[in-house]
Symmetry: C2
Subunit: 223 residues, 2 copies
DNA sequence: ACTCAAAAACATGCATGTTTGTTTTTCGTG
DNA sequence: CACGAAAAACAAACATGCATGTTTTTGAGT
């Protein structure tokens, strides 16, 4: 996809949004096609990696001609950018859903997070994140989202687990531990650096560790 | 670099090794040039990422013409393969050195491992490892090395820390925890998913955790 | 008739592998 | 010891393939 420098003029062609709910059938179809293209992009990134994701490939994956695709996005970069935003919103939605599901149980959060990291979305996101290391253009898009996710995660999570309220730094450490370890596991599984059999022990260990860090343990009943 | 399918004939041009220690000045210079090319490859991977590492770039980085470079390696793939092997041996050497330095201190091993992960070699290795996910050719080269490293690490480490001898599974968990968490941290630092300020707390936490898992803690003096 | 989605055709740039040519080192031989 | 052939290091030029962005053409819906 290359993401080659793109002259900053020529904004991407947007489907004209009719003001008050007035979507023409065309603009609706256009939106669907756009969504299909974004999905195809993510699927391609998962399948062949970001580096080998080409515009023809995405078009083929979406069942469209390249010309049609460039009609909607005009640019490889625009497509990637849209895919990144989509992945980011997926991540936010998943977290919100998780927070609603296992209410006020930090250890359940571990399992939920782990399940999230098994999904293809994480693979795509990591591909993009690593590519961004050497791609200023990509980094400019990704960095703010990373920060936003961290912030939202922290502020939402701390509100969700009142027993940690008095030890915010400890809470941050616990959350960072969970995220970092789980992501490390997910990546090491992808790259074959870790044995599948170690997953379950690690998850148990992490749960135990977080349980021990919980302030509620030290207040009510010492142990 | 693309790593495109390469017809399996045409072996790489090797410098003729004189039998009994008889290195001609040519073969010596050739070895030096090869080393320079491998180094240049790794530097390129770190600088621009594996995907954007091209043969002209490597040649330029090494201060050679592309023709000269293809004289030594014949192939982009051969170059990458050599770089992988080099990185693998670097990793083994580093581990061996670490094992010699901080003798019999598992917590010191944490710091040493962390220092290793800060080096550019790790970046290059991870770039290659992730690329291998979608590159059968690369995976065929990398996978055995991953396994070999894991094996050597485990067998060497268990011999190094006799106090763990009775709890090998616990030892494996501890080592996996250390490796996975540290790598997760390193990667999340690279991708900007983690705050630099969290590094020190995490390292301390990991050290403490490993100390508590150590069987010696429970035998001699409880607590 | 007009607009926009979709497709096709076109031109450019770059990385790759191949081929050919030039300089330097090695080694046998007179 | 010198000279010339062989081989290897190095360099440059060539042809191909593919991805990219641009432009033009077709077709469907309002």
């Amino acid at each position: 996809m290359a993401l080659a420098a793109v002259r900053s003029g020529t904004p991407a062609r947007q489907p004209r949004e009719r003001g008050a709910g007035g979507q023409t059938q065309q603009s609706l179809k256009s939106a669907q096609t756009r969504a299909r293209l974004i999905d195809a992009t993510i699927r391609c990134i998962v399948k062949v990696g970001y580096a080998n994701t080409t515009t023809p490939q995405v078009a083929a994956e979406a069942g469209l001609s390249r010309g049609a695709m460039l009609h909607h996005f005009e640019n490889g970069q625009a497509l990637i950018k849209a895919a990144i935003v989509e992945l980011h919103e997926k991540r936010l939605r998943a977290f919100r859903r998780a927070a609603d599901t296992d209410n006020h149980d930090t250890t359940a959060l571990v399992r939920t997070q782990w399940r999230q990291l098994q999904k293809p979305a994480f693979v795509a996101f990591h591909e993009l994140a690593l590519a961004a290391r050497t791609h200023p253009e990509l980094a400019r898009i990704l960095q703010p989202l990373q920060v936003e996710f961290r912030d939202r995660f922290n502020s939402q999570a701390v509100a969700l687990f009142p027993e940690w309220q008095d030890d915010i730094v400890g809470f941050n450490v616990a959350m960072t531990l969970s995220q970092t370890l789980l992501e490390g596991m997910a990546i090491n599984l992808l790259t074959g650096a870790m044995d599948e059999a170690m997953v379950e022990p690690m998850l148990c260990l992490l749960e135990k560790q977080i349980r021990e860090m919980n302030p509620a343990m030290h207040k009510g009943h010492a142990g």
